[in-house]
């Protein structure tokens, strides 16, 4: 028997393990996430409605084992659809908006129903991957809460009524050239739509177009203007960067380009990446983000200090002379400067959209100074049409409304009543406008206050075109005709321009016929097939720094006003799941735990444990937050990694008109967000109210208890690795009483690279969409009954002050000696010849012994009839996957339906499956390419290659379950200069007690 991993004391694995905390509480005397108090699990009426809405199933007919009396009907087509085979899915290339910019996708439709979203490999913003937003789009499409009819004063009306009303307006104001007519949109990155706006403005020269979207790029564009004298976009190529310094810049999660950034970034982060190719990431941030979690060195600093921090770096590099107080430790500056100088042209200094223009300006200066421009940094003309400062634009609008100068306002897509800065008091201003039209997916807060509401067609329902973050153009095509009488923005604008005859498709095609008169047919066909317009990626533009830059910078950069020692600031962030609140009614996104806090269904005031101790606060304490005369009450949540004098609060919650799912969850942060401090504000006062608010947290324990769960090594350690030391031989112990697993022609297995995984959760929600996984709701989550087949665990490492989060996606391990199989009394949990541990739903009687016996706790049980039969929602379900009924166990099965269908296709052709032909849902979505699935029997397969790495290890290998899913240890690349200090800080921690012998029990 090979020597067990940890016996050689002081082995790397051992040391790796010793760094981890025993527990948050033991480290700092803070309670772990409060354990949920008992909940009456009866279906409360509202929960019942919720279930009715959020589930759909043929389960009772399906899984219950005996079919019902009535005969099933088959309704034939009148004339069969052209390009589709019965029962086979069809994929359409299209593009979905993300903060207004395009992300290319492939829409899977089954018998005409869009059921799943995949990334479009040829689209620059996707390269085949997707984020949580894209995955959840199908649920939004089928959401029964969507606005379904035109409304006038809250009562149902028709499109023609609206057109008549519109005409009446025009007649009343004939000859005014549109004085007092205003259009408010969100960011527009669509040539055809922009052209239509222009044509409206031509018809009404005195009309004005405003833009507002809470997550906008004002700061970036203003900075560009400041530095280059023109508004432009900056594209970062992280695949080319060896050194990345992020100043409150969460490029992995909080940007229109984040999917692409994650992909590029991962290329230099994989466990098997060559040592000299590996990148090093320094992150200074005011709130814990995925970027910070992925960083090799992370330092929490207050948002207000970020400007000083980057200035300090710029000065140290000699890039500028701007003089402000130092905030970063010299050791850090020294290390970073050294790294940057050593990697001229191969580094990136990036700031986040939260930071004011001068911070971005300094970033530009530093990048220019380091010769990154043209290499890792590319400037392109703005992807957005007319990238104006949206805050200013909105302010103008409000002033005009208050001045009574506006008598007709069209709001396209935006929800300003909810999202506008509180001090602008948009709602009251809006009330002064006589004729108000709202166009949107939902009858939301704004629609409520408008005279007319026109339901918007979902992006999956209409034609259009969108530019990606880098300007690349893609055409949008529907996967289904509009479910309700929704209208596209094109139709609405056309109506405004006087064209009420043409529909969405004609309008878009008409535009492109004008643009591409010569080769329209070919162009349109190709663009729709490819999902991208060839050659539309704009050429990088060479721009020179403004001559008077130094002066401008000096003027723009505030010399840090000395802040009071305990001045607390509040930082507003986009919710990692529901963004600015537009996705609040999407149950998949609501139930997907936030990557770092692991909270679902709520936002909370994230505060540092130290701050909590100072104010005697605990988790779930409702605290009052007062800033600038405004106040809200929100539950507090202790988060390591938050700067000590900073509070993080996510936008997007506390919706009142989101829908049955989104209403009343969390607290509305916009209520204290003002236009002079849209992203962070100082002078915050917090006090405990003494009341509590129950939060649903997917993970109530954050420490690894000295167990060998997530392995981390520094690059140096990793290079010195031998399998016995760092990894785990796949079989710890050949002796066994159980029959050896059957071997078929295929032996499926998975490898998850913890080095490149960024913990975004795209895998979880992709799995949910693919496998008809139900939503259980907040109450059930608190009971510990979430159904996700692949969860992303989050543990903490290091000092509490700058705790590092470690992510670990945990699907079913497909053990070759599966503990669940031996205890199932009815053969419902069995092994098949391809090595998959199959769960046979229709045989399961629900003893739940398998779940008890699963050491990874990846099995999920339908404690109630979670999936109910709801017309509409059931249309989203994947016909290739059984919908489970109440009382049966379920779990990940490596997307068995995908394997089987691929196998059948191959067998029909009489050939063997090729490596990479079967891609699991989680693997397909992963923006970090952390998950690889394949065939162990194929010696050349990628998965075999990965598993041969010395860093490959099996979770809980000592139990001798022989998992088919294994992990690649997390490899960090710390700066040698800074490593020393961190090493010391680590050594201060006590080694875990009891970490003695993890030999397979069989060996004792």
């Amino acid at each position: 028997m090979p020597p067990p991993v940890t016996e050689a004391s002081g082995s790397l694995a051992m040391r790796a393990r010793q760094r981890f905390w025993r527990s948050l509480s033991e480290a700092e005397g803070i309670p772990d996430a409060t354990l949920p108090r008992p909940i009456d699990t009866r279906f409360a009426p509202n929960r019942r409605d919720f279930m009715k809405l959020m589930g759909a199933s043929i389960a009772l007919a399906g899984v219950s084992g005996c079919s019902h009396g009535s005969l099933e009907k088959i309704v034939p087509y009148r004339a069969g659809p052209a390009e589709q085979t019965y029962g086979k899915p069809v994929f359409y290339a299209s593009v979905l908006p993300r903060d207004g910019y395009g992300v290319g996708v492939l829409v899977e439709t089954n018998m005409g129903r869009p059921t799943k979203i995949e990334g479009n490999p040829s689209h620059p913003a996707s390269l085949g991957a997707t984020g949580v937003i894209e995955q959840a789009a199908v649920l939004e499409l089928w959401d029964p809460d969507r606005s379904q009819t035109v409304k006038h004063g809250g009562t149902i009306a028709t499109w023609n009524d609206f057109l008549a009303a519109l005409q009446a307006q025009f007649d009343a104001r004939a000859g005014t050239k549109g004085t007092g007519l205003r259009i408010l949109t969100e960011t527009i990155a669509s040539p055809s739509l922009h052209a239509q706006i222009q044509s409206v403005l031509e018809r009404f020269p005195r009309a004005k177009w405003h833009q507002w979207q809470p997550l906008n790029d004002d700061n970036l564009h203003d900075a560009a203007e400041m530095v280059y004298g023109r508004r432009l976009d900056t594209v970062c190529r992280f695949d080319r960067a060896r050194i990345v310094v992020a100043f409150d810049g969460d490029f992995l999660d909080d940007a229109p380009a984040s999917i692409r950034c994650a992909l590029d970034f991962a290329t230099r982060r994989h466990a098997h990446a060559a040592a000299d190719a590996r990148s090093r990431l320094y992150a200074f941030e005011c709130t814990p983000t995925l970027t910070g979690a992925a960083a090799d060195h992370r330092l929490p600093i207050q948002a207000a200090d970020v400007g000083a921090a980057i200035a300090q770096l710029a000065r140290a590099l000699g890039a500028t002379t701007v003089d402000v107080a130092n905030v970063l430790p010299d050791a850090w500056i020294a290390a970073i400067v050294a790294d940057l100088r050593a990697n001229r042209g191969a580094s990136i200094v990036v700031a986040g959209r939260r930071q004011p223009p001068h911070v971005h300006a300094l970033a530009h200066v530093v990048n220019a100074h380091l010769g990154n421009v043209g290499n890792t940094i590319v400037h392109v003309p703005p992807a957005a049409d007319d990238p104006t400062n949206q805050l200013a634009s909105l302010r103008d609008l409000v002033e005009a409304m208050n001045g009574g100068a506006i008598d007709a306002l069209l709001i396209l897509g935006a929800n300003p009543v909810y999202t506008a800065p509180a001090d602008l008091a948009f709602a009251s201003a809006l009330a002064k406008v006589p004729f108000k039209v709202h166009h949107g997916l939902y009858v939301d807060e704004t629609a409520d206050r408008c005279d007319w509401h026109v339901p918007a067609a979902h992006p999956l329902e209409c034609f259009g075109d969108l530019r990606a973050f880098d300007g690349t153009l893609a055409l949008q095509q529907p996967g289904i005709a509009p479910l309700y009488d929704g209208k596209s923005a094109h139709e609405l604008l056309a109506a405004l321009a006087g064209d009420t005859t043409r529909g969405n498709r004609e309008l878009v095609e008409a535009y492109w016929q004008r643009e591409r008169a010569s080769d329209f047919a070919a162009f349109n066909d190709r663009a729709l097939r490819e999902g991208i317009v060839d050659g539309s990626t704009p050429e990088p533009i060479n721009v020179a720094l403004r001559g008077d830059l130094a002066a401008v910078l000096a003027k723009a950069t505030p010399s840090q006003p000395p802040r009071a020692a305990d001045d607390i600031e509040i930082v507003f962030v986009a919710d990692p799941r529901i963004g600015d609140g537009r996705h609040a009614n999407n149950a998949w996104l609501q139930e997907l735990p936030k990557p770092l806090s692991q909270l679902a269904w709520d936002n909370a005031a994230l505060i540092a444990p130290a701050l909590a101790r100072r104010y005697g606060m605990e988790n779930e304490d409702i605290v009052e937050i007062r800033v600038g005369g405004r106040r809200i009450e929100v539950a507090a949540w202790l988060m390591p990694g938050v700067p000590e004098r900073s509070i993080t609060l996510a936008l997007g919650f506390g919706r009142t008109r989101a829908g049955h799912v989104g209403n009343g969850h969390g607290v509305d942060a916009y209520a204290i967000r003002t236009s002079d401090a849209p992203w962070f504000a100082g002078g915050v006062a917090i006090t405990r109210t003494g009341r509590k608010h129950a939060l649903a947290c997917a993970q109530t324990h954050h420490a690894m208890e000295g167990r060998d769960i997530v392995r981390t090594f520094t690059l140096g350690e990793a290079q010195a690795c031998t399998p016995d030391e760092c990894g785990t031989p796949r079989y710890r112990n050949e002796r066994t009483l159980y029959e050896t697993p059957p071997t078929g022609p295929y032996a499926w297995a998975m490898s998850i690279d913890l080095s490149s995984c960024i913990g975004c959760g795209a895998c979880t929600i992709a799995c949910q969409a693919e496998n008809n996984i139900p939503v259980v709701g907040k109450a059930e989550m608190r009971n510990g009954r979430e159904m996700h087949w692949i969860r992303v665990d989050r543990y903490y490492e290091g000092d509490i002050a700058d705790a590092r989060a470690l992510f670990q996606p945990v699907p079913c391990m497909q053990c070759e000696h599966a503990p669940c199989e031996v205890v199932c009394p009815v053969e419902a949990s069995v092994h098949d010849a391809q090595g998959i541990n199959v769960q046979v739903y229709n045989r399961c009687v629900g003893t739940r012994f398998c779940s008890n016996n699963c050491p990874y706790k990846v099995r999920r049980f339908n404690f109630f009839q979670y999936t109910d039969d709801v017309p509409g929602l059931d249309s989203q379900r994947n016909p290739e996957v059984t919908v489970r009924m109440r009382g049966v166990m379920e779990k990940c099965n490596y997307c068995l339906q995908r394997i089987t269908n691929a196998k059948i296709a191959a067998d029909v052709e009489g050939r063997r499956l090729r490596d990479g032909e079967v891609v699991t849902a989680c693997q397909a979505a992963c923006p970090a390419r952390a998950i690889v699935f394949g065939d162990l029997a194929d010696a050349q397969s990628e998965v075999n290659r990965r598993k041969s790495s010395p860093l490959d290890y099996a979770l809980l290998a000592e139990l001798n379950t022989r998992p088919r899913t294994t992990y690649l240890a997390r490899v960090t690349n710390p700066s040698p200069a800074l490593a020393q200090s961190t090493q010391q800080s680590r050594r201060r921690e006590a080694p875990p007690a009891g970490a003695v012998d993890t030999r397979p029990r069989a060996d004792r």
């Binding site: 279906f43 000295g706 769960i709 009971n783 665990d793 205890v823 009815v826 049980f861 109440r886 139990l959």
Partner: protein
């Protein structure tokens, strides 16, 4: 009424001839009025039985989600109740079968109601595993039978063995009990004054006439049944314990479970026997038949089994640390210092510390004290099962999955309901069947008389 003589068999002579015994015991069944306390008990238990029915109906219509079970604690109250009830069942068989083979004549006064207790307890136990299924209407898939799916149970699963163990146990118990009843049913038939009762008991008595031939066969068969039932005392709870020790959950994965569980079962069984016997002898004035010596003997048995249980606790803790297994040690620490520590320490209090009082002879002969001790031990044993099942599951291998269990109203309702139903059935038994075996008692008295005669 005679004072409570300290003998195991009623004194012979004029005070207790066979006829008097028969009259006295038969009258309990045949002649009204009942003691007022009986009716109070009847109403209360009936109410709880109703609650049980409601709880089960709601469970079947809605799903096991109405309980507190979740991940990772997927088993909780239902399984705790199951193990606890099965355990209680054991004492009955032990008393009637074991002691029969060992020719312990003192069992005569107690075996009848002890057997009844067994049957009702096992009935309650048998319900629990079915109730806790996700799809209870498919429970029969655990039973091997040829079906159109060509699939069979998965024989490696202890749950399948359970079905057999429990089924065998309850069948044998019922047969054994009913057989012992036959002669008494006959005497009831003969004592009955109304036609209805004569017919009813007559049918039940299967035409027993007390002929020598019948007696001869009866004795033989009864002894054989005893022999058959005895191994079950060991086997059943052994199998039940395997439900846990076969799992690899720290706190379950242990070889001491079979003896540990069997002994714990007897422990709780004797406790329940006492809890039933003490009020019964009081209400029905059976002090002369179930004497303080009977109680004392059961008290002694309780003390012995209790000591073994205490020993098992020590062995468990020792093994955890001796194994040097990271997870076993963490489990043991969590059990006694984790969120469920109060439970674990009450287990120690109820099952180990308080019962030491039984060392005192005075206490062993004090019905009230024994009654209270019985209740304490029953509570302790229930908590022990809960501790083993829930506290072990709550924190197993991956800290990310750890999650507390909290009972809901319906968890408690199911437990209370099963208690009510059990008591209700027992009261029915007292009302319609002789609580003490008349025939055996007559025999013993006869032998006593003979012995007394020879002495003079």
């Amino acid at each position: 009424m005679a004072t409570d003589a300290g003998t195991l068999v009623p004194p012979p002579g004029e005070r207790y001839t066979g006829a008097i015994i028969t009259d006295k015991i038969a009258d309990l069944v045949l002649v009204r009025p009942m003691h007022a306390g009986y009716y109070v008990g009847f109403i209360v238990t009936a109410a709880f039985t109703l609650l049980f029915i409601v709880a089960i109906t709601y469970l079947f219509t809605t799903g096991v989600g109405i309980w507190g079970v979740a991940q990772p604690v997927a088993w909780a109250f239902a399984l705790t109740n199951f193990v606890w009830w099965v355990g209680i069942g054991h004492a009955g068989t032990f008393i009637s079968a074991f002691l029969l083979l060992l020719r312990q004549h003192w069992r005569t006064s107690v075996n009848r109601f002890a057997e009844a207790m067994t049957i009702f307890a096992v009935a309650m136990a048998g319900l629990m595993p079915i109730l806790h299924l996700g799809r209870p209407w498919f429970f029969y898939w655990l039973i091997p039978y040829p079906d159109v799916m060509n699939v069979w149970p998965q024989w490696r699963s202890p749950l399948v063995w359970d079905i057999f163990a429990i089924a065998t146990y309850i069948i044998v118990s019922i047969l054994f009990w009913y057989m012992g009843l036959i002669p008494d049913l006959a005497s009831l038939r003969d004592h009955a004054r109304t036609r209805g009762k004569q017919v009813a008991y007559g049918l039940a008595a299967l035409g027993w006439r007390g002929e020598a031939r019948q007696w001869h066969r009866f004795e033989t068969a009864y002894l054989l049944m005893g022999g058959l039932a005895t191994p079950l005392v060991i086997s059943v709870h052994t199998v039940v314990s395997l439900d846990f020790s076969f799992g690899l959950v720290p706190g379950w994965h242990s070889t001491i479970f079979p003896p540990y569980f069997v002994d714990g079962a007897l422990y709780s069984g004797f406790a329940m026997a006492l809890v039933l016997a003490v009020p019964m002898r009081k209400v029905f004035r059976l002090e002369d038949f179930i004497t303080r010596d009977h109680l004392a003997k059961m008290g002694t048995l309780m003390l012995v089994t209790g000591l073994i249980v205490a020993y098992s606790y020590m062995v468990e803790a020792f093994n955890a640390y001796y194994s040097t297994d990271l997870y076993e040690i963490a489990m043991m620490r969590n059990r006694y210092f984790g969120p469920y520590a109060p439970i674990s320490w009450s287990v120690i209090l109820c099952n180990v510390l308080i019962p030491q009082a039984l060392w005192s002879k005075r206490l062993r002969r004090n019905p009230l004290a024994l009654f209270v001790l019985g209740l304490v031990v029953l509570l302790g044993m229930w908590l022990e099962r809960f501790m083993i099942i829930v506290a072990s599951l709550e924190r197993d291998f991956l800290p990310s999955a750890w999650h507390m269990f909290y009972p809901t109203f319906w968890d408690l309702a199911t437990l209370a309901g099963s208690l009510g139903a059990f008591a209700f059935l027992f009261l029915m038994f007292l009302r319609f069947l002789p609580a003490i075996s008349m025939s055996e008692l007559r025999k013993d008295v006869r032998q006593e008389t003979i012995r007394a005669g020879t002495h003079t």
